[in-house]
């Protein structure tokens, strides 16, 4: 039996991360993947799909609902957490760090699922990096805007050229051992109070 026959459910309310994971699963040959983005009536949806593997964001509040399936097993095959074996400590650590939890149904060989879990961990990590880069880019953009505004204020009130305004900001920052953006921020705030 090939891994591509695994039926996988991805429960993630973040559409971007889910898309990144779904792409990765498709690339590695998993065609039978369903994304659940709305957790209302979660158990009913999962009963209907009857998956082999369930991948869910560690911080999803519906994890407790899902775990009930370990107890109530009349309606579907009984799923268990992937990390039921203490020899899996390294993978468990990696998964918790990445924010992934995974459940597989009873009787499924764990080796068949490891590749899926590894892939999920790496995709979740890639998503986190993407998030971090995005927020860095946003910060950089807003810092640049602040500096531009501070330069504008100096040019208007002190009649400086753009180069002079920037040099003044940089000199003050060096003297006060602060970042240019902090000096620019103070200047913009002071200007707002004054006006």
């Amino acid at each position: 039996m090939s891994d591509s026959k695994l039926s996988i459910v991805v429960i993630d309310e973040n559409p971007v991360r889910a898309a990144i994971l779904m792409d990765g699963l498709a690339e590695s040959g998993h065609a039978d993947v369903v994304h659940i983005d709305n957790v209302d009536n979660l158990l009913k949806k999962i009963f209907a799909i009857d998956p082999d593997v369930i991948l869910i964001d560690l911080e999803n509040p519906s994890r407790d609902t899902l775990e009930q399936m370990f107890q109530v097993s009349r309606e579907v095959r009984r799923p268990t957490a992937v990390f039921v074996d203490e020899t899996d400590r390294a993978m468990t650590d990696a998964a918790v760090d990445a924010g992934v939890s995974a459940y597989i149904v009873d009787g499924l060989k764990k080796e068949r699922v490891n590749q899926v879990v590894d892939l999920t961990i790496s995709r979740f990590n890639a998503f986190s990096r993407l998030q971090a880069e995005l927020s860095e880019a946003k910060t950089a953009l807003s810092e640049r805007k602040t500096i531009e505004r501070a330069k504008g204020i100096l040019m208007q009130t002190r009649g400086m050229s753009e180069e002079q305004a920037y040099a003044a900001l940089r000199k003050t920052a060096m003297n006060e051992k602060k970042r240019i953006v902090d000096i620019a921020n103070s200047l913009v705030t002071a200007d707002q109070i004054a006006s």
Binding site: N60, S62, T65, E67, Q71, A81, D93, S101
Partner: protein, 404 residues
Amino acid sequence: MLDSQGGDRDNSSDADARPEIATVHAGIIPLLDCAPLVAAAEFGFAEKCGLELALSREQSWASIRDKVSIGHLDCAHMLGPMVLASTLGVGHVRTPMIAPMALGLNGNAITVSSDLHARLKAAGMTGDDVMSGAHALKTVIDENLKAGRPPLTFGIVFPFSAHNYELRGWLAAAGINPDFDLRLVVIPPPLMVANLDQGLIDGFCVGAPWNAVAVEAGVGEIVVTKSQLWHNGPEKVLGVRETWAQAHPRTLRALIRALVEAARWVEMPENRLAVAETLSAPTYLDTDAAIIARCMAGALPASDSADLAPDPDFITFFRDDANFPWRSHAAWFAAQMIRWRQIDQDTDVGALAEQVYRPDMYRDAVRTLDLPVPDVDWKSEGMGESEGRFFGGAVFAPAEHKFD
């Protein structure tokens, strides 16, 4: 084993001994009984004991369990039965955990939708008999079956929870089979009210303040409180990994002392408003401070004021040995896990209770505080104060389960 003579009790500097680590990371779930943890962190009790307590609000009980078991959190606000389940390795990685103190007593209630409440009253539910609601529910379930309506659905917070066992006990005492006559679904506490409002469930058993929030929102009515069902029944505990406790004995002692002092302070009526205000913040319960304060006072709302008398014991943080981890509480939980087929029928309940609930550690930690502390680890549940209030009149005699 801790020696009962208190071998190093002469070492009075122990109370001041520096904890092994300065910062303790603890997880909480948005519920009123996380108050001792929040008060310890926010009102100086942890600091007084030489600790910084860093709290993180978690999204699910599963997340609490995973993060404690992996060491991302040092300890947490935990469901008593969850500590037993982790130790046994039921449902997840086997991680021996211990409960060296309890965080309070009571606090839960069973709430039903306004529609179901009206049907229960029509079927004979009265305010003065705690079992009448369950008997009325039996009538409603029978009517539904005859009429070919789908089964009722009730929400619980986790498979291994006092809530699950209380609801099941209450239903079963009225002849309702909770596994066949209705559906039980797990929903995180803060989401219960929305689920009831949307008609996805017909009722739930959850901790404070979410029952009161449902009534205030006009979507449900409280049918019975835990304190009516079992006066001074066990609830959340401080859960820690056994290996963490062994590696950090001074930290754990300091933490227990801080939490006990915080619990004593939380319970003082004059501090209610400050506690409620603090808990109402988005980082904690994210709900109305006035509702939290009324829950603390035991003044539960009801749309018809004749329905529910004030219950001064609705939730208990400190008095009546509320922080003492009774082994008979653990034994009752384990007995319920067996009753509802969650664990092996031949599990040694007594041995499990001795391993997981650690009154010895509690006594050791609080000996420098001027506190009355029980000198036995087991008691009969449903006797004394709670007589006749234990699920309609039963008694749980853990002597039968006592492990020698």
